[in-house]
């Protein structure tokens, strides 16, 4: 505990960067599982995005690890499942379920040459696709609900926050998938599909880019809509908070609009994270293929950071004055006293 004491309890951030990452990765992973599940169900084209499933499960896993890492007493972690009501408990369960179904789903896309016995159980694959889509979406929603139930935090405590997080999570997930489409083990899957044909290699080399291009185009279109939706929700969110009757929520919104977070919000979030990707998606080419998704992902992370650090508690009258007069936390008299000789 050598770091500077945080003495202003109104401004103290009890949840810091691991939670922001956790919310981002949870949204990303959950969103990817949801999207892949949908694509599997609608287009039966999950094989093109199989790597995405693995990445999504990894995101959820890493996110969970970060959450545990952030705990004050991680050794007590397993008690998390004791409660019936706690949102965190539900989050943990959903994460496990989503990861589990995602993992099982992925098992169907291991190289066909390994010839594993479950390859023929397509009903299981489809069930997993449905389940991981469902639980993935739940995880996405959960990341928003977790914050929005905090009565003490006016900027979080609104049903619009899960909506915003869902939009952002799906957008980032789509962007991530558009980057991951067509990679291993997609080629193996196509070879398996066209196994009867003699020159499977040729087929792969001609069909895979085509299919990949197809799915990426769909994803880009899809993401464009999500970016637009997120843009609208975000502006509505912040501007509604700005006009809110709650002084704290208003103060935080002002911080986003014209205060300390304005640069990150307008330039980072709105311009680079939403407007530019939207334009790039329209123009196509490398910009749409690589730059836009990366920007969308970065903006998703930035949004989580902006939100997590907007955790100002609503002050009771006089609290602000009280905390403003406490030490900054690094004063010499707080660092212990030496004997006088």
């Amino acid at each position: 505990m050598s770091h500077k004491m945080q003495t202003n309890k109104l401004e103290k951030h009890y949840w810091i960067w691991p939670i922001a990452w956790y919310l981002f990765l949870g949204g990303l992973g959950g969103g990817m599982l949801f999207t892949i599940g949908i694509i599997e169900m609608v287009f039966h084209a999950g094989y093109l995005l199989a790597l995405g499933v693995l990445v999504a499960v990894a995101c959820l896993g890493i996110g969970s690890m970060l959450l545990i890492f952030e705990l004050g007493q991680p050794k007590v972690f397993l008690r998390v499942f004791l409660s019936a009501t706690a949102i965190i408990k539900w989050g943990a369960c959903l994460l496990i379920l989503a990861m589990g179904f995602g993992f099982v789903y992925f098992l169907f896309y291991l190289p066909p040459s390994w010839n594993l016995f479950w390859y023929s159980w397509t009903w299981l694959r489809d069930l997993c696709a449905v389940c991981m889509a469902l639980f993935g979406l739940c995880v996405v929603v959960y990341t928003g609900v977790l914050l929005s139930t905090m009565k003490a935090k006016p900027f979080w405590n609104t049903p619009a926050l899960p909506v915003l997080f869902v939009a952002s999570a799906l957008s980032t997930a789509t962007a991530a998938l558009s980057l991951l489409a067509g990679f291993w083990p997609s080629a193996d899957a196509i070879i398996a599909l066209f196994a009867e044909q003699a020159d499977a290699e040729t087929v792969v080399s001609s069909y895979l880019p085509l299919l990949t291009h197809e799915i990426v185009a769909i994803l880009h279109q899809y993401d464009t809509m999500l970016v637009v939706a997120e843009f609208i929700i975000l502006l509505l969110y912040v501007l509604t908070m700005r006009a809110s009757g709650n002084v704290t929520a208003k103060a935080v919104a002002l911080e986003w609009i014209s205060g300390g977070k304005a640069l990150l919000f307008w330039v980072g979030m709105v311009a680079c994270g939403l407007v530019i990707p939207f334009l790039l998606y329209q123009t196509g080419g490398t910009g749409a293929e690589y730059v836009a998704p990366v920007l969308v992902l970065a903006a998703g992370l930035l949004l989580r950071f902006l939100v997590v650090y907007s955790d100002r508690r609503r002050a009771m009258p006089g609290e602000e004055r009280f905390y403003s007069r406490l030490p900054q936390g690094d004063e010499r008299f707080l660092q212990g006293w030496k004997p006088p000789y």
Partner: protein, 882 residues
Amino acid sequence: MSETVDIHAPDVEVKKSCCYFCHQNCGVLAYVRDGKVLKIEGDPTHPTNQGGLCCRGNIALLHLDHPARINHPLKRAGKKGENKWEKVSWDTAIAEIANKLNQIKEESGAEAVATAGGTLRTDDWARRRFMNLFGSPNGFHNALLCWIPTFMVETAVSGWSPFETDLGTSRCVILWGFNPGASAMPGMRGYSDLRKAGLKLIVVDPRYSETAAHADLWLPLRPGSDTALALAMIWVIIYEGHYDQEFVENWCVGFEELQEHIFDYTPEWASEHTWLDPELIREAARMYAKNTPGNIQWGCTADQLGKTSGAGMHARAILRALTGNLDRPGGDLMPGPSHYYVTDEELEANDWLPEEQKARQIGSDHFKLTSWPGYQRIADVSREVWGKAPTAEWMCEAHGPSVFKAILTGDPYQIRAMIVSATNPVNSYGDAKMVLAALKQLEFLVVCEYWMTPAALYADYVMPIAGALERPIVHNNYGVTDSLITSQRAIQPLYERHTDYNFWRDLALASGQDPDQWPWETLEEAFYYVIYSFIENGYQFGSYDEFVEKYRMFYPPLHYYKYGTNGFATPSRRVELKSSVLEELGYPALPTWIGPAENEIDDPEVAKEYPLVLTTGGGFMPYHHSEQFNISSVRFLYPEPYFTINPQKAQELGIKSGDWCWIETRRGRIRQRANVEPSVDARVIYCQRGWWYPERQESLDEEPFGCLESNVNVLTSVDNEHCDPIGGSWANRGLLCKVYKVSYWDDTDTDFSIPGSAAEPGISVPPSKQPLAYEPIPYDPQPGFEVPEGLTWDPNTKLAWNLESGLAYDPESGWLYHPETLVYYDLVTGYAYDPENETLVDEATGQRYNMETREPLESEGAHTADGVVSDVAPGATGEKGE
């Protein structure tokens, strides 16, 4: 926490200790196991605090074994101020100190050794006893800023200071410059309770204090103008006829003179000085005078106004008397010294100080009431009436600032050694820069302390002192009341700490004082001696500790109207509205307006440069004087100093809340942060006192521990012309200042001003030659009657004497009388008067004479002549003499 410590376990002892962080001495229960205090809490059965403890009281355990406490005697190893120390044993340190003091005494006289104290936080009678037996009159405290001049003026006027308010049945209390809401928490509880029950509360305070918030009437006067307010209140009470006519006629002298004297001090006149609406002054005076019984509660302000202090005290004493509130139920009680136990004064051995040493007391030539000349006069009268005298420690001391000046200048003589005990003089005495310079320059300095303070840093020896929980305490209000509350120590002092008593006793024995003078080895033994006589009153105890455990306190029955039997303890046995004691000492006999130390009316030139009025010295939670700044848990709540400025003025000066600003007077400047609040007038600045930064243990250069940076005493004045000539109080309040923002490249102001005048720092005139606020008024009373031929007028006794026979003249009856036997004698013949037989008797021969004709009578009554005693003036019998 007690979740970890079971304070109810059978092996845990409960000790009835008390708090030692201010002089309320609230009761504390200490839970002790194996010599270790586990927990403390307020004692719910203690009459003062009833279980309550304030910030200070609650940190006792953090204080007890704080890592920065001084636990062993330290001997200076490097140069002064270098902070290099050698640990030595207690006995070695004591022996070496004793040797040095004896050497100085031999070379320069005992008076070259002085001691400085703080505020009732040591075993003061023991210090006095040591000094008296050693032969030095130069002990002093911050007494002159804290009640002592008030006590002496009020005792001069009405025979004792009525500081015990009988609040239960009181109807109106004036809290005059007193903020119990920050400095006397138990008292504040009482006021809150009583106000709910209908008590009228008038608060006189320039600042909207915690207490003012609870007042019925708040008088936000110009700091330092209290005297004008008091005078105008007298005016209202007299000229509107609200005074207690019966009491004034029967028990006061000098009313007619007062009435005449006060004539110009109208509320309209006072309004100019106090900035108060005359109607508000009238309302306050009426509220106070009409709601009797009532009280005026003393506040420190009274003693911190500098040259205007004495007149204000006198005026308040008069207010109490005019309203007949003295010693009546619900009024200002005058308990007098205790007859039930040994008072502090009786422990002080004042008789052992030779007269010629008394005369050498520094400051006693200027500030007479609170030093030997005034004390002697008051003590003599007090002994006649009360049978005992007030405590001399406190009431009769050297003038502190003059002692510091003497260290620097050698005027009136060189002070070579000082023992500083329970005070941090740089922060608590006026003109901090001067005090610091004096401490640096002093030849031999011993400091008895808990902490390494700026003073201790320059010491030759630092002695570790037992603090709260480590010492037994008898609480008896400076030894001038008749009740007491006792407390025991929870544990023996840790490490090599000792109580102050043991320091003085050990030093006394080591310096060769008679062990018979110090018969008590421990404080408990001494206190057992103090309370021993309770045993005669039916108390049963075999030791001091047993008394504490069984009884804890002693409250004699309340007696009202004590003056009915012996009169008031003044020379005339009446309340002397026109004070003969003050008059004899060369001070105005009636309260006479004199402005505060610096003010815009008398010093317009100064006011041009320094347009704001500064008030300092007020207590604020959680600190007590300069203490607790090193208790992190407390400091956490109040890390930095704040001064208060009105929002309007702040805006004018471009100061925002929290800005660091300089506050500057003619003597220097300090920095504090701005607390922008409408709690003061736009012309007033309220500055916090006491600030130093004990955590700055590395920067020990010219301003160790940042002891000047935010120290309000850099701003205060101890110039002779600013001190109250009567009591010697120096000026903490009502000074002129200016305020401006600290800029980036500013340094702390460590330019030392050596005492001189505020206008021209530096010594060009020796202190003894510097002017006073006003020169003494020569005391040469003229007879108010025609002195018959052959008799001699004596201005001291104010009587005409027949020097041959030693008889005094009674101008009312025209007879002579013997001052002791009160037998009356005929002015012409010198024959005694026999009221039984209505005859004159020649005491030498026994021959009787006719009253009218002075013809000899038959010799039959000759034998009864010896027994003739008369305390009835012949005139009173209707048979007038000549």
